[in-house]
Amino acid sequence: MIVEGQIHGGVAQGVGQALFEGAEYDENGQLTNASYMDYCMPRADDFPMFETGSQVTPCPHNPLGVKGAGEAGTIGSPPAVVNAVLDALWSGGHKVKDIRMPLTSERVWRAMQ
């Protein structure tokens, strides 16, 4: 239950990074989204329920066979989301090969031009 909970959180953080979150600086080096009024955090209504599965393999590098698990969600979700967006763009006829996170609507729109 704890591992699943950590993975849920990791997935959500990764999706946040892929779609919303980014530290934006102006040309003078001033951080322009330094508060929650400007910085976009994923909210409860941005997500569906998650389904998790695991492939249980003991780690060979320590006597207990233990390893970290929670960050797996954070590592997996950004490429999954970005690839999904690229796939959607390709199927719409936009041959976009590279797009930078976070995939804000402006960035997606620019990539389509």
């Binding site: 909970g5 959180g9 997935v11 929650y36 009024m37 409860a44 209504d45 997500f47």
Partner: protein, 168 residues
């Protein structure tokens, strides 16, 4: 200059002289020492400071203590009764609805307002109700389940609940 306010917090009446600029959350935390209500962003974005003011979920970091004069306030400390957890608290416990726990008091108070007005909320309605409360740890999945748990428990007929409790 101080202003006298009379507030009922978790059933207990308090009469205090407060500075007009004092925010309600700091009145609760610093004057009444009810530190279960958290201060997250101080700009009413994150929802960690949510309490019930006259039964309505309110972000106490953007309300002045003087505005709460003559109001009934419920904080997370007032949710359990006679040492028994509120169904929402039990739900968060049972469903692993928290990890660091910083957002939990606010989540519970917001959910309490939701369940008061909607006994059987759908997953979508729960997520919509909680959209003013940030959680960085859980991805909201188990928080939604905790609220569903509480909704089920609160709407279950009393007799069935007692029978189930007896079976345990």
């Amino acid at each position: 200059m101080s202003t006298k306010i009379t507030v009922t917090v978790n059933g207990a009446k308090h009469i205090d002289k407060v500075e007009p600029r004092l925010l309600l959350v700091y009145y609760l935390r610093d004057v009444l020492k009810l530190t279960g209500t958290h201060v997250g962003c101080d700009t009413s974005s994150c929802g960690a400071c949510t309490i019930l003011v006259d039964g309505k979920a309110t972000k106490s970091c953007t309300m002045l203590a003087v505005q709460a004069d003559k109001c009934k306030i419920t904080t997370i400390e007032g949710m359990a009764t006679n040492g028994e957890l509120h169904p929402l608290q039990e739900g968060f416990n049972q469903c692993h609805g928290l990890q660091c726990g910083f957002c939990t008091p606010g989540m519970i108070m917001t959910a309490a307002d939701l369940l008061k007005n909607n006994k059987k909320p759908s997953e979508e309605q729960i997520r919509a109700a909680l959209e003013g409360n940030f959680c960085r740890c859980t991805g909201y999945h188990n928080i939604v389940k905790a609220v569903q748990y509480a909704a089920d428990k609160m709407s279950a007929p009393r007799a069935r609940k007692t029978k189930k409790e007896a079976a345990l």
